[in-house]
């Protein structure tokens, strides 16, 4: 079926050429193409921009020629928070564009259809767009009891994921649950929850962890796939480098206070009121790779640290078990059990007494032997 191009569709909705090119520029910026001042400042190749290359035009060319990207969105052990974040995103231009540029064929939270109809629509889409659609997964996949902990339409999440992944062009795991197991995987992990990339190994999986994932990052990955037909450059945890290349700490607005040794010690002390560093209140910024500190939330309004709360490290694997949220980052994950330490100390002392007593006895015997001589 020859669908209209994205630009055609936008035109029908009354988007002018000028607005369209503005949107293209925004998309190019979001996916980190050169040609925009902030991107140049970040040290990406400027030569491209100098030689008359305009990233905006490249995006425009694609949006003018390509039709919308089919997306199938699966939800497993999740809270739909990533969907909420994306659908209520406060940066409407970008998100609207991407939502215009994709066609969501199946989404349990957003679709009007339900039951067998919805499942049928999904299967139709999977057949029609085999090898072309982008599979988005939200939520972790339970492996225990053959996946009985999460079933949809009578089938296990594992089953559904494998079936949908087979025909996908690329897979996006949005949120910490889909990426690394998230909350369901927290100890003791009763459902044996796993992230998508631990299960699907034969397809490109891009992880967009976060709790929830930053909507702009999701839209940028989709835009990148749309423009280049490929996923962006990924780090060792399959996260897009553009957004997960730096730690929160590196870009934090409270960083100067860290360097100066000015820390808030509670949530209502003088330091907290002055906006000092939250490191001592347990901020996980130094080991957390995400774009919160630069992109921020609600259209660049704020992010947790700016609002006075330490970073929880929600874009890192196993962040629920990464030590107390309000315990210093550098502290050991947990305090050793006092009885264990006590037992160890006692064992050491007893061993010392035993060896010492043996030595003393030996010494005495030797002295006696010398006297007897």
């Amino acid at each position: 079926m020859a669908e209209d191009s994205i630009y055609e569709r936008l035109k029908q909705q009354g988007v002018t050429r000028r607005d369209f090119l503005k949107l293209c520029g925004a998309v190019a910026g979001a996916i980190g193409l050169s040609g925009l001042p902030p991107v140049q400042a970040s040290g990406l190749p400027v030569t491209l921009a100098r030689s008359g290359y305009k990233a905006r035009d490249q995006v425009a060319r694609v949006l003018e020629t390509k039709s919308r990207l089919p997306v199938i969105w699966l939800e497993f052990q999740d809270c739909a928070g990533c969907t909420e974040a994306l659908s209520r995103s406060h940066s409407p231009t970008l998100v609207n564009l991407v939502l215009n540029a994709i066609t969501v064929e199946y989404h349990e939270t957003l679709s009007a259809a339900a039951g067998f109809q919805a499942e049928g629509a999904k299967h139709n889409a999977m057949e029609k767009y085999a090898g072309q659609y982008v599979l988005v997964v939200e939520g972790s996949i339970p492996m225990a009891l053959d996946g009985a902990y999460c079933t949809i339409g009578g089938r296990s999440a594992l089953d559904i994921l494998k079936e949908s992944a087979a025909g996908a062009a690329a897979i996006i795991a949005t949120g910490n649950c889909a990426a690394f197991g998230g909350l369901p995987k927290a100890k003791p992990n009763p459902t044996d929850a796993k992230g998508v990339w631990e299960i699907v190994t034969d397809k490109p999986v891009v992880n967009i962890p976060g709790c929830p994932a930053i909507p702009e990052v999701f839209t940028a990955v989709v835009a990148h796939f749309l423009v280049f037909g490929a996923l962006p450059e990924l780090d060792s945890l399959n996260r897009p480098k553009t957004f997960y290349g730096k730690t929160i700490h590196d870009r934090c607005l409270r960083r100067p206070f860290y360097e100066a040794g000015k820390f808030a010690l509670s949530y209502d002390d003088e330091g907290a009121k002055e906006g000092w560093c939250l490191y001592k209140l347990g901020c996980k910024g130094p080991t957390t790779y995400n774009a919160c500190a630069s992109l921020k939330w609600d259209g660049g309004l704020s992010f947790p640290i700016q609002a006075g709360h330490p970073c929880l490290g929600c874009s890192e694997p196993g962040f629920w078990d990464g030590g107390g949220f309000y315990q210093g980052q550098s502290a050991p994950l947990s305090r050793p059990d006092l009885t264990v330490v006590g037992a160890a100390a006692a064992a050491g002392a007893v061993a010392g007494v035993a060896v010492g007593a043996a030595n003393q006895a030996q010494k005495k015997a030797a002295k006696k032997a010398e006297k007897a001589k």
Partner: protein
């Protein structure tokens, strides 16, 4: 296994095991030394032993570091005296007054304290590393030290040096990603904790005993039998 998991392991189970071994080992060493026994003092003392002990500590900590030239240990071996002194001062500042380390103490002890600003701690860490290098070179070329140095001494140097360098690289985000350096730092710290009871680094505890014994000898003013 990714670096986040390695970090969780070195900060979690491995650190606990290392800490338990450290506590057990140090208690063993302490009991062994205590059971060597005190020699009975059969000579009546003219002075006070307790005063001697107090004086000895005060002199060692508050007076001699500021007028080192009166001591022969300084004039004979200025490198060891200066580098050694600065090294220990650096250890104290970084381990006790550094914010990151204070949080470790806080998590273990349950209470925290005031810390120094990062740049000061940072400079002290650099001083410690430079001092360590100076001591290393000194040990390489000093003819007397050469005779005294065996594998255990080299291992001591390595085990202490690695956490210092990895910690410095960690705070400055040098060469590797933060969690990689953090993992390496924690790994070297864990090894150090296990190594301390087995080695002469345990002098951090026995130093106070030897100083006390010397102090009472100075203080009692009597003829030694």
């Amino acid at each position: 296994m990714n670096w986040t998991e390695i970090l969780a392991f070195t900060r979690g189970p491995l650190f606990q095991v290392a800490l338990v071994i450290f506590v057990a080992g140090m208690l063993y060493r302490l009991v062994r030394v205590l059971m060597l026994g005190w020699q009975k003092d059969k000579v009546p003392a003219k002075g006070s032993k307790a005063v001697g002990v107090v004086k000895s500590f005060l002199k060692g900590l508050l007076i001699f570091p500021f007028i080192p030239w009166v001591k022969r240990t300084f004039t004979k071996n200025p490198v060891i005296y200066l580098a050694g002194g600065l090294f220990h001062l650096s250890l104290f500042v970084v381990l006790i007054l550094g914010a990151a380390h204070m949080l470790v103490w806080k998590s273990l002890l349950g209470f925290g304290w005031w810390t120094l600003p990062l740049p000061i701690v940072d400079w002290m860490a650099a001083v410690g590393i430079v001092a360590m290098v100076a001591l290393f070179i000194n040990r390489l070329f000093n003819p007397v030290l050469k005779l005294l140095t065996g594998p255990a001494e080299w291992l001591n140097l390595a085990f202490v040096f690695l956490p210092m360098v990895s910690g410095y690289m960690l705070t400055h985000h040098l060469f590797f990603r933060y969690e990689v350096m953090f993992s390496i730092h924690m790994l070297t710290v864990d090894f150090l904790l296990i190594w301390i009871p087995l080695s002469r680094i345990s002098h951090f505890m026995f130093y106070f005993f030897s100083r006390a014994i010397h102090g009472q000898e100075f203080g009692k003013r009597a003829v030694n039998p």
